[in-house]
Symmetry: C2
DNA sequence: CGTTACTGTGTCCGGTGGACACAATAACGC
DNA sequence: GCGTTATTGTGTCCACCGGACACAGTAACG
């Protein structure tokens, strides 16, 4: 099962030479997903992009789920290196890098929901995140949970700011705020908290990533400081 | 657009009486999604559940997206009331309630990704979350962002613990840990952070929700305390 | 009682993921 | 050199999907 993403994949000796490559297929899929969203990625279209028939793809990939998995791992890529930083700086940079990855390929938000195949690159991301916390006094489970909180937040902000139904990338949450202000203008009394919050908004928008990240890192600091003392 | 979820929907006077109801259709869809996952929800199957043809559904719902939106709002329901709690207690209870909602209907994790139609119940959830922070010194934007962080975390934990590819509910992250330990056992040196973390795990598992929530609330406390002083 | 608006149904379409048989290809043992 | 054999990409076929549209039946209105 993990073979596709992890195995060496040496070619067989008999038979005609392969006309395509797994990476080339995945790249075609990525190109399609970047341009038209994840929903546009079908076996037909990917094969068409490479001027082959869709069934030929099944010689390289067991099914669509696996194709998307390969695309995902290839698109997420390797995390950047940030040597010589404190755990807080490292984790913060890591979070912004992750957000940038989602920004490059918004469909990653859709392709990484639910249980799925894990690729080496995705695992490397997790590894780097955990490494940032290796020096602190947190135990393994806490390190993993901490990284999970940060990824969750990055996902949430990315999702809210750059996702549209079909998986297409969009400008910025235009539609949601539209219906929201529409509803609030007519039924403000039904949602006192929201309508109150909408009124007392400072000009600073799209600060969601930094805001939440700061809270999370502050909370982690507190825990780590407590550990260091004991 | 928002009419379906918000409008009063009074029936017309002419013509035969309606044999079904929007809510009944949504309930059938929910039943299907609960049992077999969101992918099992098709017009055919929902109509079949009610012993009607699929095209009859289009007399009640413009398309599948809207049906899922109605299902979602109906399934998420109204948040429970928790009067007389501090902002921290209230937001914490709110978070656990939200997690419980995802637990009841795991497919909500899939149906609430990306841009979509917002229903009154979903908006009520947001409103209650914001209300919990109304008393603090945070401004509206900060209140919204704070609730967003919490929802993101709840989603993340729920997603990791009870989602499977098709949208089916699963036991607990069996598959992911399987591949993870499998990979780590053979290539531990490639992922030093992860393999290190896996070794130093305390017995306490599935604490992810509480752990992250505590960090976030700690971070918020810090901010709120700072505001109160100035 | 005819008109009219509305209901649920049947038929049709393009697109999807995938199973399977098929001819062409190229390395192997002899 | 030559059959054998594994492997390639292809073509055909299927069930299913969301949805457009025309249709006959129904029930309130003038």
């Amino acid at each position: 099962m993990t073979e596709l993403l992890w195995g060496p994949r040496q070619p067989p000796s008999r038979g005609p030479k392969r006309a395509m490559s797994l990476e080339g297929i995945a790249q075609a899929g990525i190109k399609l997903a970047d341009a038209e969203g994840l929903d546009a990625v079908s076996m037909q279209r990917v094969a068409g992009e490479l001027s082959f028939t869709k069934m030929s793809l099944y010689r390289y990939v067991p099914g669509k789920a696996e194709l998307v998995a390969v695309m995902t791992d290839l698109a997420v890529g390797q995390p950047a290196e940030h040597p010589g930083l404190s755990w807080r700086e490292a984790l913060s940079a890591w979070a912004y890098d992750l957000y940038a990855a989602f920004e490059r390929h918004p469909w990653l938000l859709l392709s990484t929901v639910g249980r799925r195949l894990l690729g080496p690159n995705e695992l490397t991301w997790m590894d780097r995140g955990v490494q940032a916390l290796a020096g602190t006094g947190l135990n393994g489970g806490e390190q993993l949970d901490s990284v999970l909180v940060v990824t969750g937040h990055v996902r949430t902000i990315a999702q809210q700011s750059l996702t549209m139904p079909g998986g297409t990338t969009g400008v910025i949450e235009e539609h949601i705020t539209a219906t929201l202000t529409d509803v609030l203008s007519t039924q403000a009394d039904r949602f006192p908290g929201l309508s109150g919050a909408m009124q007392s908004i400072d000009g600073n928008q799209n600060q969601g990533l930094t805001f939440g990240l700061t809270r999370i890192l502050d909370g982690l600091s507190l825990l780590i400081a407590g550990r260091a003392k004991s």
